[in-house]
Symmetry: C2
DNA sequence: ACCATCGCCGTG
DNA sequence: CACGGCGATGGT
């Protein structure tokens, strides 16, 4: 992927920067549309949106936004048909599935206390947490997206209902609940994204490819984990493509991989394509530190 | 589960509270050991640890701790055998798998700048992010655990190597990298934990049970999502037990569930045990809002 | 009933 | 301050 990445921050544009018009944002590369709220490519993901009060159903909570998809309206802005899961809507689903960062730009809107008074303002990166559809008052279907702000831990404070439970201990025994029992926070690199396409979004262990309406889902896994103390590199030779089940199994050491790519712990062999050179030293590291040792004590039940 | 929960904050104990001795922490229920760094039950999870410099291999970075397991040492504290994955060590693995919060207490240690000068201090809740084993200088095996602080978004700032990349945009196109391509942040409720045991850690769709050395892995999924705008309840009738693959598929609307528990979108039927009363209104909500509609546009490849 | 434990308080 | 013995508690 020598193509430069459309996703994430734009050089020289700071969070909070203001703009007068769409064309200005288009010229600088912040929002690649002269008209239209969603900028993106259907099967590759969305890179930016503008929220400017065009849809009454939108809800803005600052670090959390409920955003409405595009389409299904006539020139007068009236809903006359179901919104389809294509173009910008599908792009947002792909962004959710691939974990891509989404630039959010707020336009002036008197009814939104988070909007600027005039013009447009770049408000930083969000992620698409989920999508669903609703049948509006018009009787037609609309797509909706829940966006959560990245960075600064704002995501942690997005709770259902009332104000966030205070951090200090005192009353209850569990930490404040978040919106889901399991949160998959995917922060994708360009590299990981390319790997997924390279393997056609199929698990290198079992070939599974999870097909959603928005596109296929698969996960990129580091062989030698990034960060302390493993300090694995974030490069081509250190990532493999796994379905969620095998990703969990790999991280928990239920199986590992031999130098000839046969699997240890479970039957099978890792499917490795020609151009994908996996670092054998990383495989060795995983075997030496993560594979369940023979002296393990198995739980009784 | 009428048993009171050992996990999470302790009533009346605030983060930062100080104590003079183990017996004091034991009396108040903060750390259920008179001697011993890890408090927990092997197959049920660990609820608290004390880090006080007893192990030289421990590394403390404030919101990130590399903690060493127990065992394999003689009375003089010398390593004389491999550490086994049982007792406290297995309890920490279960806490990782189940996503349980871990109370962290720091004891005085001149070599640790995050430790209190004297006595012990309750430093709040962490999660067990991963575990692995190393062969120490003694030639014997030790278990290690990576702990990340919960709350306040401190976790977001834990990067490998140098200082955290500044939040404002400017140079690169991707958000700051975190330690893993996929982060599973599991915040478990007592309810969800009980459900997992109720179904013997088996997926209600495919019966899969992922067996790690520390114990089985499964995920609890909300049928109607918590939080805005769905506002599903966090109760027994709104959670089901799914393997990671089917959890992703359910959240993405690849399949849904009919009132007779037959699956829509894929073949099969949800296995529902007698005592588990699932709210049919929640199933209906999922079908009405998340199941991929028929007018979906499938990706070409 | 046994056993293991990142403590604790004496001595030197 | 290092070392050794004492010691209770809860998991196994």
């Amino acid at each position: 992927m020598s193509v430069k990445d459309r996703f994430g921050h734009i050089p020289a544009v700071m969070v909070g920067d203001k703009f007068d018009s769409y064309v200005e944002m288009h010229a600088i590369g912040l929002h690649n549309r002269v008209q239209g709220g969603i900028s993106g490519v259907a099967r590759q993901g969305a890179e930016s949106i503008v929220i400017s009060g065009g849809y009454e159903d939108d809800q803005d909570f600052g670090n959390e936004i409920i955003y409405t998809g595009q389409g299904g309206r006539n020139e007068a802005g009236k809903h006359i048909s179901d919104q389809q899961l294509k173009r910008g809507n599908q792009a947002l689903v792909v962004s959710e599935i691939e974990g891509l960062p989404l630039r959010v730009i707020r336009g002036a809107d008197r009814n939104n206390k988070f909007a600027p008074e005039t013009g447009y303002r770049y408000d930083g990166l969000f992620r698409v947490e989920s999508h669903w559809w609703e049948t509006g008052k018009s009787g037609f279907k609309v797509w909706r997206f829940r966006l959560l702000e990245l960075d600064g831990g704002a995501v942690e404070n997005v709770n259902s209902g009332g104000p966030t439970e205070p951090t200090p201990a005192g009353n209850n025994t569990m930490p404040a609940r978040v919106s889901s029992t399991v949160q998959r926070i995917v922060r994708d690199t360009t590299l990981a994204r390319y790997l997924k396409y390279y393997y056609d979004h199929k698990c290198q262990v079992c070939g599974t490819r999870l097909e959603s309406a928005g596109g296929p889902y698969i996960e990129a896994a580091h062989v030698r984990a990034l960060g302390r103390p493993h300090d694995g590199p974030d490069d081509w030779g250190n990532i493999i493509c796994l379905c969620p089940n095998h990703h969990v199994m790999f991280d928990l050491g239920i199986f590992s991989i031999a130098d000839d790519f046969s699997l240890i712990g479970i039957d099978g062999k890792l499917n490795v394509k020609n151009g994908h050179i996996i670092g054998l030293e990383h495989l060795a590291y995983h075997r030496e530190h993560f594979l369940n040792p023979l002296n393990k004590t198995l739980p009784e039940s």
